[in-house]
């Protein structure tokens, strides 16, 4: 090969290097951040799930029945069983909140007089089954439901918080977190009655609207 031929080959090798560089840039280049598209889908899925929770009835997921343990006394001639198949999943969660409101005085929780832990346990189990079926296959989840604290006096307040989760968060990247807010769908006098059993409070001190916040957070599996 004479000098001109060698020059051709050297030029071509340089050209090959540049093309290889361009190829590698193209292969690595992504039109969008892959996480961004995952996160967008996760946010849509979480939002849809929360919306569906407000409409889908418990009867379609096998029904929901429970026996109130408010009095902690079994009445032999009455089954006392409540069938809540007509309630939506969000309504069940809100009812659980109302039945298990906690009063905090001076930063310390007062045990409620009417604990309804069996109902709480069953609602959590029911919601866990629903969440496993809807988002459990694709994402790990955490559903947190809480009431906005209702101040009864400068020292006392009523609140509720519960969480249902499918995993332990070990510092993994969260894909999304979506929240819906709804009013506690019970009459003001009923709420007052429920609280007065635990803590004396006047009608005027009670907030006119008690808000419930339901947050669904998702993590990629």
């Amino acid at each position: 090969m004479d000098k001109r031929g060698q020059a051709y080959v050297i030029d071509m090798l340089l050209f090959a290097l540049m093309v290889a560089l361009a190829c590698s840039l193209l292969i690595k280049a992504s039109p969008t951040e892959p996480n961004a598209i995952d996160d967008r889908y996760a946010a849509n899925l979480a939002q849809s799930t929360l919306l569906a929770f407000q409409h889908a009835t418990a009867g379609e997921l096998g029904g929901f029945k429970y026996t109130p343990d408010i009095l902690a006394v079994q009445i032999p001639w009455s089954s006392g069983e409540r069938d809540l198949h007509h309630k939506t999943l969000a309504q069940l969660l809100v009812e659980d909140m109302f039945c298990n409101l906690r009063v905090e005085v001076g930063g310390r929780n007062i045990a409620p007089l009417k604990p309804n832990q069996e109902f709480d346990r069953q609602v959590r189990k029911f919601l866990e089954t629903a969440l496993d079926e809807i988002v459990g296959g694709r994402f790990d989840y955490r559903l947190v439901a809480r009431t906005m604290p209702i101040d009864l006096s400068p020292a006392a307040r009523v609140h509720f918080e519960t969480s249902i989760e499918s995993f332990n968060d070990n510092g993994r990247r969260q894909a999304c977190s979506e929240t819906i807010r709804m009013c506690l769908p019970i009459p003001r006098w009923e709420l007052l009655l429920g609280i007065q059993d635990i803590y004396p409070v006047s009608n005027s001190r009670l907030e006119p609207r008690a808000l419930v916040e339901i947050t669904l957070s998702l993590w990629s599996k």
């Binding site: 919306l51 409409h55 009867g59």
Partner: protein, 150 residues
């Protein structure tokens, strides 16, 4: 002007042409892979937008106004036809299915996937959970499955 010597210089020229062809093919392949990935992302994004619109507006119209996330089986067909025509004008094909959790088809609109598989861009699917208003008392969970293609 120097003459090309048959032998060494011709060999160099063949190498140069072969290498150039190879590199151009590699570059074209890389670009094709990039464009395909971009198209998939765009299709997925589009499918998500459409699913969002269907869930919140087109399929959520009820007698007493819209209920986000609650699919109305009765009025959906007519609404879907109008919506599909709007998308078709932009060159977007659409198939919508609503299935209950046990897989029963509650609503279907648009051509079946085996018909659309021959289009230029591969179809892209998105599924979102919804509630289906079957009767006043019965509102089961279901999946809204949206497939789009260009």
């Amino acid at each position: 002007m120097e003459q090309l010597s048959v032998g060494e210089d011709l060999f160099a020229t063949v190498i140069v042409v072969g290498l150039t062809a190879l590199l151009i093919a590699a570059l074209a392949h890389s670009y094709h892979a990039y464009a395909e990935r971009k198209s998939t992302y765009e299709s997925f994004d589009l499918a998500l937008d459409i699913a969002d619109q269907l869930r919140n507006d087109v399929l959520a119209k009820h007698e007493n106004g819209a209920s986000l996330g609650l699919i109305n089986q009765l009025t959906s067909e007519r609404e879907l036809q109008i919506y599909s025509k709007l998308l078709a004008r932009q060159g977007i094909g659409l198939r919508v299915e609503v299935r209950t959790l046990d897989g029963k088809l509650a609503l279907a609109h648009g051509p079946k996937p085996n018909v659309i598989s021959q289009y230029f861009s591969p179809p892209c699917s998105v599924s979102l959970p919804v509630a289906i208003a079957q009767t006043q008392a019965s509102k089961p969970f279901g999946w809204l499955i949206v497939t789009v293609w260009r």
